[in-house]
Subunit: 432 residues, 2 copies
C-alpha cells in the first residue's frame, strides 16, 4: 500500500503519460487480488453505496457534464454526439438504478462449474474466478463509466476506464461517487479507476500493458473497435457490427412477417440487434412482401431491394452489392428474394456479421436447419432480432455483445467477465 501511495504521489501528478498509465495498471493489479477474494456481500454493498453516492451527487455530476458540454459545444459537433454526451436527472438516476440492478444479480465468482473424482482419488473442481483487470476503452457516453465499472466489480474484476476525452469531467465526477461507495464498503478505490489524463496517447499505452491488464473491452463505433483490435497486445472482447437478417421462409405467416420485421428493423434502429437485411423466399414474395413493405414505409423506413423486389413496390430503390454487407443503424433496410433455405443460409453466412439472425417459418424442419447452419452468435426462430440483449436474455446487465468466437460470444454479462481455475484436492497422490 505504501508503494501504491508513492506511485500516486510521484507519477499521477506528473505529466508523463506512460508513467501515469503504468501507475494506474499497478494499482489495478493490486486491487484485483483483493477483489478476487472479496465476499459477495461486500461487492453488493459497494454497488448499492455507489448507486446512492451517484444519486446524492447528482448536482455535482450534472455540473461536470455541463462543463463537458460547454467545451464540446465550441467545436463542430453532431446532434447525435451531443445527445450521447448529455446527462440529465433521469439519466443520472438511470445510472444509479443500473448499479442497483447489478447489485442483486447472483455473484458468479466461486461457482463450481463442474466437479468430478478421478480413479486415483483426486477430486477436481472447475471454479469461476475473476478475469483480473479489465480495460474499458469507450467514447463520450458518460453512463458507460458506471455501467462498465459496476459490472466489472460484480465479477470481482478491477476496471481501468478510459472514456472519451470529451466526457472527461462527467466521468471524473461519476468515478468520485463510485469511489465513495467502494470506500464505504471497505473495498479499494483502485477497483475502479479512470485514466487520469485526457492525453490521447494513453490508449496506446493501455493496449500494450500485457502485465497489468488481462482483457480489453472496447465500446463505441467501428473505428474505435478496429483500432483497438489492431493495436492491442492484450486479448480483446470486441463487438463488431450487427448486420442482422430476418429470413421469411415459404412457410411463414404474413402477419408474423409484418410484425416481426417492423419490430426487428424499427423498434430502435441504432442498436446492434436491429435487422439490416430481409430475405424472402420467392414462393411467398408476392403474398408476403407487399404488406411488409407497406408497414415499413408507413413507419418511415427506406427499402433497398434487388430487381425482383423493385417490381413489387415503386418505393423500393435499387440495392447495390455493398448494401448486403451494410449495417445501416438507421431506418433503411435491404431486401432480397432467395430461391431456397440453402440460398438464405449461404447469403447470411457470406454477408452477415455472425451476430444475430432470425428465420420466420411454421416449418420446424426448416427452422432447425437454419438454427444449426447459420453461423451466428444468436439464431432465432420466430422472434425479433432486437432480443439480442443481455437484459432480454435474463443476464441483468451486459457490457456489450461479443461477435468473436473465443471466450464470450453474444451478450457479455457478469458471468462472461470471469474465467475459471481447477482446484484439486488429494491425499498425497503422485503420478506413476
Amino acid at each position: 500500500l505504501s508503494a501504491v501511495k508513492s506511485i500516486e504521489r510521484s507519477d499521477l501528478e506528473s505529466q508523463d503519460v506512460a508513467a501515469i498509465v503504468r501507475a494506474v495498471g499497478a494499482r489495478a493489479r493490486l486491487a484485483a487480488r483483493e477483489l478476487a477474494q472479496a465476499p459477495s456481500s461486500h461487492k453488493e454493498a459497494a454497488l448499492r453505496a455507489m448507486a446512492a453516492a451517484i444519486r446524492s451527487g447528482k448536482a455535482r455530476i450534472l455540473q461536470a457534464n455541463a462543463r463537458d458540454l460547454d467545451e464540446a459545444g465550441s467545436a463542430d459537433r453532431t446532434p447525435a454526439f451531443v445527445d450521447r454526451l448529455r446527462l440529465d436527472p433521469a439519466r443520472v438516476e438511470g445510472m444509479s438504478a443500473g448499479l442497483e440492478a447489478v447489485a442483486i444479480l447472483p455473484d458468479p465468482v466461486g461457482q463450481v462449474i463442474a466437479e468430478w473424482d478421478r480413479p486415483n482419488g483426486l477430486h477436481i473442481e472447475r471454479v469461476r474466478v475473476p478475469l483480473g483487470v479489465i480495460g474499458i476503452v469507450y467514447e463520450a457516453r458518460p453512463n458507460v463509466t458506471s455501467d462498465a465499472g459496476g459490472l466489472c466489480l460484480k465479477a470481482g474484476n478491477a476496471a481501468i476506464l478510459r472514456g472519451g476525452s470529451e466526457s472527461f469531467h462527467s466521468s471524473c465526477a461519476i468515478v468520485e461517487c463510485m469511489h465513495e461507495g467502494l470506500a464505504a464498503a471497505g473495498l479499494p478505490t483502485a477497483a475502479i479507476q479512470l485514466v487520469p489524463t485526457r492525453d490521447r496517447t494513453a490508449v496506446g499505452e493501455m493496449l500494450a500493458m500485457t502485465d497489468s491488464i488481462d482483457v480489453i473491452v472496447p465500446r463505441g463505433g467501428k473505428s474505435l473497435i478496429e483500432r483497438v483490435q489492431r493495436e492491442s497486445r492484450i486479448p480483446v472482447l470486441a463487438h463488431l457490427e450487427g448486420n442482422c437478417h430476418v429470413y421469411v421462409h415459404s412457410k411463414a405467416t404474413v402477419a408474423m412477417a409484418r410484425e416481426v420485421i417492423v419490430n426487428a428493423k424499427m423498434r430502435r434502429t441504432g442498436v446492434c440487434g436491429a435487422a439490416e437485411s430481409v430475405l424472402v423466399d420467392r414462393a411467398v414474395a408476392k403474398s408476403h412482401l407487399p404488406p411488409v413493405i407497406e408497414a415499413l414505409a408507413a413507419a418511415g423506413c427506406e427499402i433497398r431491394g434487388d430487381a425482383e423486389v423493385g417490381t413489387l413496390d415503386p418505393r423500393v430503390t435499387a440495392a447495390s452489392e455493398a448494401d448486403w454487407s451494410t449495417e445501416y443503424l438507421d431506418a433503411i433496410l435491404s431486401v432480397k428474394i432467395v430461391g431456397s433455405l440453402d440460398e438464405a443460409i449461404g447469403h447470411i453466412n457470406r454477408y452477415g456479421s455472425h451476430h444475430t439472425d432470425a428465420i420466420l417459418t411454421e416449418d420446424p424442419v426448416a427452422a432447425e436447419r437454419f438454427l444449426a447452419e447459420v453461423d451466428s452468435a444468436i439464431v432465432l426462430h420466430n422472434a425479433s432480432t432486437q432480443f439480442a440483449d443481455g437484459g432480454e436474455f435474463g443476464m441483468g446487465a451486459e457490457i456489450g455483445i461479443a461477435t468473436g468466437r473465443l471466450h464470450a460470444r453474444g451478450p457479455v454479462g457478469a458471468e462472461q467477465l470471469t474465467t475459471f481455475k481447477y482446484r484439486i484436492r488429494g491425499t498425497g497422490q503422485t503420478r506413476p
Copy 2:
C-alpha cells in the same frame, strides 16, 4: 466445390506462398462448414479409419521419416532434436492408438450447456458448436500432426497444420493416411490440411488470415510461442511456461513432502507440470528439508537454494534472483524458505507463471486459502504438480495446457476446442 478444385490446380501448384496459404484457408473454411454439421458417428468412423490407415501405412511413414532424418542429419542437430523428429514402429502405433482414444471420447458438439425460458415465452439454449478453423503451428514432432488433427476433427473443426520444415516428409505421409480415413468416412479431406510448402514465410501468412482461421494454437518451445503471440492477428491459445511450485506448509508431513516433491520434480523433468521451485515454511525447514534434499540428490537433482537452505546441506548451491523465475525443464530445483503462508502465496503470484502450484499441508484452512489465493490455472492440495495433464484430468486427450485467462485455461481438450451459440425459439415475439 469446383471453385475449390480450381484453387487447388492454379495455386497449390504455384510457387506463390501467400496464394498457397490462402487457398488452404479457403478450403478449410468450406470444410469447417461441412464438419460443423457432421454427425458424431461420421467423425468417429473417420478417426478410426485414420488410425487404421496410419497402421497399415507404417512402412510409408517410416520411409518418409528416414528421409527427414537423413536431411536433418546433414545439419548440426542436437540429440534431443533428432529424438523428437524420429519415428519408430512403436511411435507410429502410438499415433493410431491416440486417434482411437479420441474416437471414443464424447462429442462436445451439439451439447446444450444451459437452457432457460423467459417470461415472454422465448426458450433460450446455449449450445456447443465448433470453433471453426484451427491453425496449429508446431515444430519437428511428427506425432503432433495426428494428435492435433484428430482432436480438432473430434470437435468439428477444420485444422490447418504447419509443422516444422524438418519433419515435412513425415507429416505429409501421416496426413495422406488421415486423408484416406476422412475419405473412407465421407468427410472432406480439407478437414485436415498440411500447409504444402516448406517455405518459412508461410507461418507469417497464416497468422494474418483472420478471415479463414479462427484460432491459432502454437505447440513448441518458448521462442515459437512468443513469435506467434507477437505476430498473430488471430486469437492465440498459448501455453507459455510452467514455473510450478510446491509449498511445504508448517503442517505438512515429512513423508508426503518427500514423496510428492520427488515425483513433482523428477518423474519427468521436461513436462510443463514439473515442479521448478519448492517453498518451505521456516517452522519445518530443519525437519522436512534434509530428507527432501537427500531424496532429490539421490535421484540426481541439483538444488539451488537461498542462504538458509544452503546451511542445511553442502550440496545446495546458491540461487540467484533469476532462479525464482526459471523453468528449468531439467533435473534442477530452486528452494526457498518462507516465513508464512502469505509469503508463499505472494512469492508464487509474483514469480510463478500461473500454471500449476501445490500446497502440502494437513491444515484444511491453510489449504483453502492457498487454493483460493494462488492465481494459477491449476492449484492442488496434497498432490503432485505432474497431474497437470488433460489425460490425468479425464479429458482423454489434450492439445496443450493454456496459460492465458480467456476461453480455455488449463488442459485444452476437445471441449475447449468448441465455442457456443444461442439458439432461441419463439412464437412471433417482438420486443416492446
